[in-house]
Amino acid sequence: MFENIKLAFQGIWSHKMRSLLTMLGIIIGIASIISIVSTIKGTNEQIKQNLVGSGTNAVTIALYQGDWTFDLDWNAIPEGVPPMNDAVRTQITALETVEDASIYTERNYVSNVFYQNTPYNGALRGIDRHYLGVNGYSVSLGRSFTERDYQNYNKVAIVDDKVAQSLFYGENPIGKVIEINKDPFVVVGMAMQSSENTPVINSLSDYDLYVGSSSGCVFVPDVHWGSLYRYDEPQKLCLKATSTDDMTAAGQKAVSIINSRLSVGEKSDLSYQSNDISKQANDLQKLTNTTNMQLIWIASISLLVGGIGVMNIMLVSVTERTREIGLKKAIGAREGRILWQFLTEAAVLTSFGGILGVAAGVGLSKIISQLTGAPTAISIPASIIAVVFSTLIGVVFGLLPAVKAARLNPIDALRRE
């Protein structure tokens, strides 16, 4: 076997030009497939990164009525939806794919918050002790909520950087007093999401859902929510998955835990659902995949042509080497040995072509990304599959010439000059 491969290499080397031309079809086919795959992978990774952000891996779980989020402003507090307590949170954080979780209550657009006489129209959230951490916020000015704030019902608030801009016009927000439902709250801190945790794509409507609200957010300890709004309003849950790939699974598991506590009756269309950005990213990726799969089929035609070229040149080679084959048979080489010799030669030729093709494809995708700015990412498994596949092409298209060589009548072979 090893001997055969060595001999095959010698054969290829002694006909450099011919071998290269024979391999060209394979090289072009593999190179285009590799560059297409690299572009697909690059695009997918970019979509994922843009949409999901690289840091938080946050999944939001909210109460839905049918296909729509349950509207707190217009609906009475639903029957059979118990408030989530620490026990639920513990159960969810115990999941393998969940790093941390937070329970909070939220109004997306409030009209009862003022600073001096300026109304504030952004989001208001009553948050537990974990919220800021789970969502990748860091307190850049002042302080975070303390245990004492929660225990003593301190009327304190944290604003995000957007609110600091829109409500306080860039002045230091710390110490300012805002009115929520006519109750004064002292701003004790300013929090912002670090930039790497912020999605880059702004055009998707779901973007707003993810960051909450584009006009900023005011946070208060969740202990005030009952007196500010209503007691026992359905909360939301936000969890941080261990990795981007785990987001969907973690969300689904958490949803089933939460839903198992509901007692809304069979006919109700109330249920908790996860809003998972990675799911949407997957849908987008599927779209790019299907268009690019068609390109791969087209590139495969070039592989077919390359394979036929290999078959052609191997047939020529068998004819040329008739005398060598006859001699080997006369000396006692079995048919199987001759068959293997030509099969390995074809396979070595095409796998060598495949390796060159992968190299060319990698180079090509680098050039493409330089020229067009399209992202590319080299896929190691795809490269390995490409080489294996080109070896297979050699075996398939080398079979006919190899059988022809093995079946050669030694007499005819020896008589040929």
């Binding site: 001997e3 001999l7 010698q10 054969g11 002694s14 005398r323 060598e324 001699l327 080997k328 048979k329 006369a330 000396i331 006692g332 080489a333 079995r334 048919e335 040995r337 009548n409 030694p410 007499i411 020896l414």
Partner: protein, 228 residues
């Protein structure tokens, strides 16, 4: 008895025409004999040798080699017989151009599955025997015609065959190299190898224990010299 040909016939088809090339050939060869076959061009000498050499099958008649009937033999077994019982020397030396002298000589052993180290050892031994110990690593295109033929003989002998078949081994050589090759054959025969040799040269044939003549596909022991 090493070889027994009984009423061996071989026809070739030329289109729809049946051309008989060998007609009822009978030939017995004992172990250790040195036999020459002579005859004009086209008389069927190579055809007979191909039949004996398990490279072709007769149209009718029986061939037994070493007690084994060759008719109805599987092609795989025929390859093994060629490899283990027979050694071939052709008119042109027919070395593989990509292999050096040692690797060419070791080829039959490779097909037999002998380990590389042993193969080389045996090949070197054989090359020494044919007087080429200083040309072991040479490629065929670096050797003269006579040297190539001696390498080919070494290759035929490397597998320790019982029967050495030679088809005009001196045909392409000058008289000096031819003499060397003939000397080699005589030496091998003295060591006990059975030799069947085709030749056009009376001088070469005279070396043999027995001479057969073939004319129009008929084998005889007598020289039928009509020109006399």
């Amino acid at each position: 008895m090493l070889l027994n040909c009984e009423n061996v016939c071989k026809d070739y088809m030329r289109g729809k025409l049946v051309v008989p090339v060998l007609k009822n050939v009978n030939l017995k060869v004992e172990n250790g004999e040195y036999i020459a076959i002579m005859g004009p061009s086209g008389s069927g000498k190579t055809t007979l040798m191909n039949l004996i050499g398990c490279l072709d099958v007769p149209t009718s008649g029986n061939l037994t080699l070493n007690g084994e009937n060759l008719s109805g033999m599987k092609s795989r077994r025929m390859a093994d017989v060629r490899n283990q019982v027979l050694g071939f020397v052709f008119q042109q030396a027919d070395l593989l151009p990509g292999l050096n002298a040692i690797d060419n000589v070791a080829l039959p052993l490779l097909y037999r599955g002998v380990k590389k180290k042993e193969r080389r050892k045996k090949a070197m031994e054989m090359l020494e025997k044919v007087g080429l110990s200083d040309r072991m690593e040479f490629m065929p295109n670096q050797l003269s015609g006579g040297q190539c033929q001696r390498v080919a003989i070494a290759r035929a002998m490397a597998g320790d065959p019982q029967l050495l078949l030679a088809d005009e081994p001196t045909g392409a050589l000058d008289s000096q190299s031819g003499k060397q090759v003939m000397e080699l054959f005589r030496q091998l025969n003295q060591e006990g190898i059975t030799i069947l040799m085709i030749t056009h040269s009376q001088e070469v044939a005279d070396e043999a224990d027995r001479i057969y003549y073939i004319r129009d596909g008929i084998l005889t022991a007598e020289k039928e010299d009509r020109a006399k």
